[in-house]
C-alpha cells in the first residue's frame, strides 16, 4: 500500500487560548466557558446549554415539590425530603459540574483529546430528570395491581354482561291484623297460577320494646317459582316496607319444586308514631321473589355495542370514500412531475403540498373536536374529521405514486399513435392503480382504527360508548366494547394485508 494515499483522520484542534488551569477555573465559573476558550467552541456551547437546561429543570422540580415554602433552604430541604430522587439528581449534577471543570482542563491541555464520556453523563442526568418529571413508579405495577384486578378481569371477560335473563317480581301478600280480635278480615281466595301467601294465625301481637316476643306465625307460600329465593317483607300500616329479620339475618326461603314453602316467623318489633295509633292495624305480610321468566336474551349493552361497531365501521368507510374522491384530483396538483411545467403550476404545487402537510400534521382527534363544534356530536363529526385527515394523507401518497411512474410506457404507447385518453388508460392507469389500491386500503384500515377512538371526543361510533361506560365504571360493558374493537381491528388487519398483497 502506498502510505501517502492513506487517510489520516485528524482530530487536532487549534491550540488553546488559555492555559489548562485557567480553563478549568473559567469552566468552574461558567460551565463550558473554559472549553470555548480552549478552541473547542461547539463543545463548550453544548456543555453550557445542557448545564443551564439541567439546572433550570432542577430548580423547577424542586420548587414544584415544595410549592408552599418561600425560603430557599426550606424549599430544598422539603423537596429532598418528599422526593428522594431529587437528592440523586443533585449529586449527579454536582458530578457533572466537576466533570465539566476537569474536561476543560483536559481539553485545554491536550488538543488531540476529545473525551466523549462526559456526554454520556449528560444523557444520564437527562434520563434521571425524565424519570423524575415523568413520575415513573414501577412499584405501582406491583402494589396497585390488586386494586385493578377486579376491574381488569371484568374487561377481559365481559360476556356475562352480554346476555340478560328477563326477570319479574313475583309477589304474594297476606293481611295480618294486630292485635287479634274476633272478627278477622277475610283471607283472600287462592287463584290458580297466582302466587299465594297465607299465615296461621292471621293475627297476632308485635314484639314489644321490652323484648317480649311477638306471635309466632306459620307462613305458607304456594305457586311461587321453584328454587328461587323468596324474601319475606312487611308493610306496616303507614305503608313502609321493611324486611323480616330473624336472629340478625334477613329471612329468605327457597320454595320446593312445586313452588311451595313454609316458614315460621316471629312478628317483629316496630315503633309507630302516636298519630298512627288505632285499635287495630292491618300489617301486610309479603313474599317477594325475583324470578326469571324466559330464556337468556342478548343484553341491551351488547345490542348497543353491535349497533355502534357497525356505525364505527361505516364512519371509517365513508371517511375513506370521501377521502378518495377529494384526494384523487388533489393528488395531481401535488405531483411534482405533472406540476413542474410552468412557474404558476409550481406555485400551485407548493401551495397544495403545504396545505396538505399542515392538515396532515393535525391529529384526527383534534379535527374531531373541531368538527363536533361545527356539526355537533355524532357520527357525522367523526366522518368529517377522518375525511379531512384522509384527504391530506391520501393525496400525499397518491401524488407520490404519480411521481414515481415510469415514463417509458407513456412514450411507447404514444409511439403507437394512441391519443391522450388511450395513453392515460394504457400507460398511466395500470401503473398507478396498484399503489392507489394499496394506499387506499391502508387508509381504510387506519380510518376504522381511528373511528373506534374518535367517539371519545364525541365523534360517534363505539368510542363514544366506551368512554361513557368507562366513566360510569361499568367495566363489563366497557369490556364488550374493547373486545368488539379488538376483533374488528384484527379482522381488518388481516383482510387489508391480504388484499394489499394481492395487488402489489
Amino acid at each position: 500500500m502506498n502510505t501517502t494515499l492513506q487517510h489520516v483522520p485528524t482530530n487536532k484542534r487549534p491550540t488553546s487560548f488559555v492555559p489548562p488551569f485557567l480553563a478549568a477555573i473559567l469552566s468552574a465559573i461558567v460551565p463550558g466557558l473554559g472549553q470555548m476558550l480552549a478552541s473547542a467552541v461547539r463543545r463548550g456551547i453544548i456543555l453550557l446549554s445542557s448545564f443551564i437546561t439541567i439546572v433550570g429543570l432542577m430548580a423547577w422540580r424542586i420548587k414544584l415539590a415544595a410549592r408552599r415554602d418561600t425560603e430557599l433552604f426550606a424549599i430544598i430541604k422539603k423537596a429532598y425530603h418528599l422526593q428522594p430522587m431529587l437528592v440523586v439528581l443533585s449529586v449527579m449534577v454536582l458530578i457533572l459540574y466537576i466533570w465539566i471543570i476537569y474536561d476543560a482542563y483536559v481539553i485545554a491541555k491536550d488538543s488531540e483529546r476529545t473525551p466523549v464520556f462526559l456526554f454520556f453523563m449528560i444523557l444520564a442526568v437527562f434520563f434521571m430528570l425524565g424519570w423524575q418529571i415523568g413520575d415513573i413508579d414501577p412499584i405501582a405495577f406491583v402494589t396497585k395491581a390488586d386494586d385493578a384486578a377486579p376491574a381488569l378481569s371484568r374487561v377481559l371477560w365481559p360476556w356475562e354482561q352480554a346476555v340478560y335473563y328477563p326477570e319479574e317480581h313475583i309477589l304474594g301478600t297476606f293481611n295480618i291484623q294486630v292485635p287479634c280480635t274476633d272478627d278477622l278480615p277475610q283471607a283472600p281466595e287462592m287463584v290458580e297460577g297466582e302466587p299465594y301467601l297465607s299465615s296461621t294465625p292471621a293475627c297476632g301481637d308485635l314484639t314489644t320494646p321490652d323484648g317480649v316476643e311477638g306471635t309466632m306465625l306459620s307462613v305458607r307460600g304456594e305457586n311461587f317459582a321453584p328454587d328461587v329465593a323468596v324474601q319475606i317483607l312487611w308493610e306496616d300500616p303507614l305503608g313502609n316496607e321493611f324486611r323480616q329479620r330473624q336472629e340478625g339475618e334477613y329471612v329468605m326461603v327457597i320454595p320446593d319444586a312445586n313452588g311451595i314453602f313454609e316458614k315460621d316467623i316471629v312478628m317483629p318489633y316496630r315503633l309507630l308514631p302516636p298519630s298512627a295509633e288505632a285499635d287495630t292495624y292491618i300489617w301486610q305480610l309479603k313474599g317477594k321473589q325475583l324470578a326469571s321468566t324466559g330464556d337468556a336474551e342478548f343484553s341491551m349493552e351488547l345490542k348497543l355495542a353491535v349497533e355502534k361497531i357497525v356505525e364505527t365501521i361505516f364512519i371509517g368507510m365513508m371517511a375513506t370514500f370521501f377521502g378518495i374522491i377529494l384526494a384523487l384530483p388533489l393528488s395531481f396538483f401535488a405531483a411534482r412531475n405533472l406540476m413542474s411545467a410552468s412557474p404558476v403550476t409550481v406555485i400551485i404545487y407548493y401551495l397544495v403540498r403545504g396545505v396538505l402537510n399542515v392538515v396532515r400534521s393535525i391529529e384526527p382527534l383534534i379535527w374531531a373536536i373541531i368538527a363536533v363544534i361545527v356539526v355537533g356530536l355524532g357520527p357525522f363529526a367523526g366522518i368529517l374529521a377522518l375525511t379531512v385527515h384522509s384527504v391530506a394523507a391520501l393525496a400525499k401518497l397518491y401524488s407520490e405514486s404519480i411521481e414515481s411512474i415510469d415514463p417509458g410506457p407513456i412514450e411507447a404507447i404514444q409511439a403507437t399513435g394512441a391519443n391522450w385518453a388511450q395513453t392515460v388508460m394504457y400507460a398511466v392507469v395500470p401503473q398507478i392503480i396498484p399503489p392507489f389500491v394499496s394506499f387506499t386500503i391502508y387508509r381504510w384500515d387506519i380510518n376504522i382504527r381511528m373511528s373506534t377512538i374518535i367517539g371519545f371526543v364525541g365523534g360517534g361510533g363505539i368510542g363514544f360508548l366506551l368512554a361513557q361506560w368507562i366513566r360510569l365504571l361499568d367495566y363489563d360493558s366497557a369490556g364488550i366494547a374493547v373486545w368488539f374493537i379488538a376483533i374488528t381491528v384484527a379482522i381488518l388487519d388481516y383482510t387489508s394485508a391480504e388484499i394489499r398483497e394481492r395487488f402489489i
Binding site: 415510469d406 417509458g408 410506457p409 412514450e411 411507447a412 404507447i413 404514444q414 409511439a415 403507437t416 399513435g417 394512441a418 391519443n419 385518453a421 388511450q422 388508460m425 394504457y426 400507460a427 395500470p430 401503473q431 392503480i433 396498484p434
Partner: protein, 269 residues
Amino acid sequence: MLEIRHLTKVYDDGTVALKDVSFTVEDGEFLIVIGLSGSGKSTLLRCINRLVDPTEGDIIWNGVNVARLEGEVLRESRREMGMIFQHFNLVKRSSVFKNVIAGRLGFTPTWRSLLGRFSDADREKANTALQRLGIADQANKRADELSGGQQQRVGIARALMQDPKIILADEPVASLDPVLAHTILEYLEMLNQEDNMTIVCSLHYLDLVQRYSTRVIGLRDGEIVYEGSREDIRAMSDAEFKEIYGEEAQRITGSISGDLEEAKPGGQA
C-alpha cells in the same frame, strides 16, 4: 422514403441535441446510427415520430412533413412507425397480450379501447405476432415476469401490430446480454428482409453494426460525423470505429463463448 432535412433540436435547458442533421433513408434500408451516449441518437429517433418536437428542420416521410403535423394526422403518421426501446417500455403489471395489443390503439376508436374491446381481427393479429416472435406461450404472463430478451420481443411484437413501414429501434439490445443481442437483431433483420420494413436502429457494438447494417451514420455532439455504405462499414477497422465512436466502443463476438465481461460495459455506456 424518409428524408431528414436540417434537423435541429435545442432542449429547454439549452442543450443542443441535434445540429443541422440531414440524411435520407431509402425504403428497405437497415440504417444503423452510432454514437456516444448523449450524441443525439435517441433525440434523432424520437424526432422522427415526434415523441420529441424538433426545434427546426423537416422530416419528410413519404412526402408528408411529419415535423409540421399535429393531432389526428400526427397520430396517423405515428401508426406507420413502430418503435422499440432500450428499456422495452412495457407496462410491467399488464399481461404480455395486453402490452402487444396496445400496438393497435392507433387503429381503435377511443371508446372501444377504453373498454378494452379490441376487434377479433386485432386479437388474432396479436396472437400471430406473439407466435412469430416465439413467445405465444407467455401471452398471459405479466410482462415483468419475462426475461429481458423476451420482453424485448414483446416490444417488437407491439411494434409489429402497427403494420409499420419503418421501425425505429432506440438501442434495442443495450440492456441485453450480447448473445441475446443477436437474436433480437435477427428478428429485426427478418422484418427488414421478409416484410421489407425500413429499420433505423442505434447500436453500440461494431460487430453488430458490421453484421446487420446496410448503411451507417455516426453522430457526435448532435452532428453527423460519418456516413458509410455497407461496404465501407465492413471494411472499417477498430481504430477507425473508435475514432468516430469514442474510446468506449467494444467489439463482441457473436458466439456464446464470447467475452461477456468485456462486452457488458460497452453495452451499458
